[in-house]
Amino acid sequence: DIDGVGRKYHLELVLEDVLHKDSTVNCTAEVLYHLGNKNIAPDVQFTLEGELRNTDEADNIFYNRIKSLEKELVAENIPDSHGNVSPEMQPVHLLAWVASGYVIWQNSTENTKFQLAQIKRVKQVKRSDEYLEFDYMILLHEMVSQEIIPWQMTVLWHPQHGVQVTQDSRQPKHAPE
């Protein structure tokens, strides 16, 4: 506890590559949750002890495939009800995971635990520059309240320049049904 400021956590973690389970990297981090105002994202500082796997080849393959599509990519329900993600949609799913990580960070408190539950809809937005742009409607699962929260996010990506969430907004829950 830091008087007048908030609560700081010191963490030691192991990062595991979801696609290559035996590739792990140690990490230390400090997370500071601010007192009072719940609208400020927690401060995060971290140090990686090692290197992340190089993904240039896969990144470029995905980038070129999307760039060369005649019609903008559109998809729904990733994964589907049975947990399936087609091979073509795998990178789209992974991109949503990374981008939702940003949204989750911006909206986390000591009493929330968010996970990406599903991509309800994703639409590619054609751009004239080198970036890829996707407009996602995702469902976030919040563990403590058990709520499923629809969230819109606009994601920019480029193999060399990484991921950016340029816009995001929480959506109203569907009609009570």
Binding site: D22, P79, S81, G83, Q118, H141, S145, P176
Partner: protein
């Protein structure tokens, strides 16, 4: 002549194709490394090509065991190596060829059977109707052991069916298992079905299951919340609650795991009907919950209450409604850890053990709190795979592995219950 040449070539090819690899005398060892040093020794072993070792699980981290197939000629050398470094191992398969021959036999047999009946695919998600049909099929195929009972009706009037596994007696001490209380947790209903099949087919073959069923009964409710389950198929895959309607609100449904009479209405449940954790107008307001409570009370001799949820990979005991420990904390914690260890032994899936309150969150009105305070000492809640990568949308190809590992955990608990009557 050219036709003679052809005959020679064909018979040579034929001969080669008959030269099948055999695994007579091959052993499969499971090597439990305790630290990085030992992992490195294994990796060294792996590099010795003349041993012709075939690693089924490669040594990469001391957190997971390494499984390796060893040709008959190399067995002595490998064991000597391991023993000289004090590296622990166990024999998973004594003679691989024996296992393969049996598998071939089994496959031939089941192919024969398959021609007769429609084989149910346990490795995929099914509709409620399909699950209910399979319950009937199990009760008929294993008629001497399995019977189907209706313990009540859902809000939308669907039957609540439980399977009873019994070898006789009158009101024997029994174990209760339920799944699907939260409808979106599809791997639980699917696993429950696989587990039902497993119990039925293992009786008379597996000594532990056999001795258990010779003394106790098992009740398995595979779909506690059928209305919700149907809704996840027809309308909203993420539906959690029941489908009950309440005066004064447009919102539907109550969280059935906040509706039990244990700290009802306390922290960790919502009084907002539109919330996913709405506790309902009063305890046992949900007919699904009331039906189970009535069954348990009327039976009078339930010794364990085990419930399946997903996801998060947790094995929990009471309490959820308060953060103080149950009186039997030590025994439940030890048993929980033993069960988690059994689960881990199969595929390395780690489950975290603890009370609900300290492990996930404070939550009032939960089922195992009620069962424990009612007097059922062995009350546990499982949260199955995964830890968030797919969450509720667990790929179907993980159903059977999940069911298999969960079964080992359940079995561990049931064996303890069998051996510790109270």
């Amino acid at each position: 002549t050219s036709s003679m040449k052809l005959i020679v070539i064909f018979s040579a090819l034929f001969g080669v194709s008959l030269c099948l690899e055999t695994f007579v005398g091959h052993q499969v060892l499971r090597i439990k490394t305790r630290n990085e040093e030992e992992v490195k020794k294994l990796q060294l072993l792996e590099s010795l090509e003349h041993l012709e070792l075939d690693f089924w699980i490669n040594p990469s981290t001391s957190a997971l065991p390494a499984d390796v197939r060893i040709p008959a000629n190399s067995i002595q050398a490998v064991k000597a190596f391991l023993e000289s470094y004090g590296i622990e191992y166990s024999i998973l398969i004594e003679d691989l060829q024996v296992v393969l021959d049996k598998e071939k036999q089994d496959m031939a047999y089941s192919q024969q059977r398959e021609r007769g009946s429609n084989i149910f695919n346990y490795g995929t998600y099914h509709s409620l109707d399909s699950i209910y049909a399979e319950l009937d099929h199990l009760a008929s195929e294993y008629g001497n052991l399995v019977s189907k009972l209706q313990i009540g009706e859902s809000y939308e009037k669907r039957p609540l069916y439980a399977l009873k596994f019994s070898t006789g007696g009158s009101n024997r001490p029994a174990i209760w298992i339920d799944a699907g209380i939260h409808s979106r947790e599809w791997v639980t209903q699917a696993s429950a079905l696989w587990i039902a099949k497993k119990i039925a087919s293992d009786y008379g073959k597996d000594p532990s299951v056999t001795s258990l069923l010779n003394k106790m009964d098992i009740f398995l409710l595979a779909v506690l919340n059928p209305d919700g389950y149907v809704f996840t198929h027809t309308t909203n895959r993420m539906w959690r609650k029941t489908r009950s309607k309440h005066q004064g609100s447009l919102c539907v449904g109550v969280d059935p795991n906040r509706n039990w009479d244990a700290g009802f209405g306390g922290p960790g449940a919502s009084n907002n009907p539109c919330s996913e954790s709405y506790h309902g107008p009063r305890a046992n307001s949900e007919v699904e919950v009331k039906s189970v409570v009535n069954f348990i009370k009327n039976h009078g001799n339930i010794q364990a209450f085990l419930t399946l949820h997903s996801y998060s990979q947790l094995l929990m005991y009471p309490y959820g409604y308060k953060c103080t420990g149950p009186a039997d904390y030590a025994e439940l914690d030890a048993l929980g850890r033993a069960a988690a260890s059994s689960i881990w032994s199969l595929y390395g899936t780690t489950f975290t053990v603890g009370s609900i309150c300290t492990t996930i969150y404070q939550a009032s009105g939960g089922s195992i709190d009620w069962s424990y305070d009612y007097g059922i000492k062995y009350s546990f809640a499982f949260e199955l795979r995964d830890t968030g990568r797919y969450g509720f949308l667990l790929p179907a190809n993980q159903i059977i592995p999940t069911a298999e590992e969960t079964w080992l955990g359940l079995k561990k608990i049931m064996e303890h219950v069998r051996d510790n009557p109270y």
